[in-house]
Subunit: 261 residues, 2 copies
DNA sequence: CCATCTTTGTGCACGCGTTCACAAAGACAT
DNA sequence: ATGTCTTTGTGAACGCGTGCACAAAGATGG
């Protein structure tokens, strides 16, 4: 997911697999739900079901953290919550800035899941002077001019980009220059960052496109494979597209690629 | 990512790897950008850079679709845009419903990336009667009571869930019962669905937690590994947590797990 | 103290995805 | 037409992640 070069093959001190790290938040959520219900211990089987994964996978994941279970009993919920939180770095406070306070930025600012997990929204930043000073989620929107000051003053190391695609790279560069070393990118662009900076991206339309792919395939199967078979025997590339290459510009600074079937 | 059982090992007619499918939207975006600039052809090297991937990977990905390139020249941009669009199913119209019109739901409704790629927002649905009739992104918010009617009448097969965690499973069940077979879930819950239904989830706080993990590791390395080494020699599990298991309830229907270090 | 039963932790095998490296294919110049 | 040069398409090797299956560990009861 990240754009930064190789994903730290060097100095992997404890060597927790990336796939495992990605699942830890899942386990943590399931565990906190159990903790809320005052459940003292849980077996790998139960917890796996709650987290939506395989129990063997879960046990192997936990084995990378250490031996925190008790054979014949299961895992101590409270203790495991603490261990995973610590491993993920959630026992400390992470100031975060959100850049681009449009619909999405505002939604992110209001999202409870951040504050509740150690992430503190330090500031909301937008380039539009008309937005400056407006209150969103209890915080005043501040102008992009202040970006560097805000990042440095608050020791911000994590930045969230929710700007239009066109502005994302510049914002990214400025964040990195100011000291941010982790970026969560919602803009539909590939960001290039120097080594040592992590980028994760979330693209809403990509997820939908993947769903559409599977949906199309389901429909094709229902039709008895005939359509798919016909498609397979399409003529090979003929330099110029046979069908009309009609395109219309999109409203998000990104260009769509939809052709009438 | 999906919760549904094994990810269709059977009837894989054309057998495009899941990882490749996930990258096709990336290529498509890069290609449409080139198309906008009227670039006629592009080499795998250039396109790979634009999409942020390895050129060998890109070529292998395209090889699953067919031989659409010309050796010594590269790929015809327009033709490739068309082929990928067709493969992803973007040449057809996909009516989509968004359930849960809070901050996030409204942001999604306004997101241009949907409409521009063949996804048509058929309706916005919310459980709050006070919201009913309100205009969001040019569409009236409709009440949950109408969910089944809307889905069936508009032949909706893709649903987006942006409700609080507590309501997600029920909404999901109703969507599925009404005929939806693909779900994009933004609620922080594991959804259980019958076989044949695809679920993809996007969890904003999970992404941040993964970043925090890497960020913490970076900081640890800067401190000369000493801290990390000290952590490694922690006493083993002692039935009861040594440190305080303090917890405070979170505002998002989900419980946080943050302990003061 | 011993037997039984439950559940963890992990060795092992398998499959998918990634990357390398190169032969084949075509463009282009002469 | 022939040779050179560029770029694709892919065989093969490698590494990571997953899941099975089981031995070891501990709880529990007699």
């Amino acid at each position: 997911m990240a754009t930064g070069r190789t994903h730290r093959p060097a100095t992997r001190s404890r060597g927790i697999p990336e796939a495992t790290v990605a699942r830890l938040p899942l386990y943590l959520r399931a565990l906190t739900a159990l903790s809320e219900r005052s459940v003292p211990t849980v077996s790998s089987e139960e917890l796996a079901t709650a987290a939506g994964v395989n129990s063997a996978k879960l046990r192997k994941d936990f084995s990378y953290l250490g031996s925190y279970g008790t054979r014949g009993v299961g895992y101590d919920v409270e203790y495991l919550v603490y261990q995973i939180s610590r491993e993920l770095g959630l026992t400390q406070d992470w100031p975060v800035v959100i850049v681009g306070i449009g619909n999405l930025g505002a939604a992110l600012a209001n999202y409870g899941g951040f504050a509740s997990r150690g992430f503190r929204v330090a500031a909301l930043i937008d380039a539009d002077p008309a937005q400056t000073g407006k209150m969103v989620a209890g915080l005043p929107v501040r102008h992009t001019d202040e970006l560097e000051d805000i990042v440095e003053h608050n020791q911000v190391s994590i930045g969230v980009i929710a700007t239009p695609a066109g502005a994302a790279q510049e914002v990214c560069d400025r964040l990195v220059a100011a000291g941010v070393t982790s970026i969560l990118n919602f803009a539909p662009t590939v960001l290039s960052v120097p080594d040592g900076v992590d980028v994760r991206k979330v693209d809403l339309s990509i997820e939908l496109q993947i769903l559409a792919f599977h949906e199309q395939r389901k429909a094709g199967e229902d039709l008895g494979e005939a359509v798919a078979a016909a498609r397979d025997t399409l003529p090979k590339a003929v330099a110029e597209p046979v069908t009309e290459p009609a395109r219309r510009p999109g409203p998000d600074g990104d260009v769509p690629a939809v052709m009438p079937a």
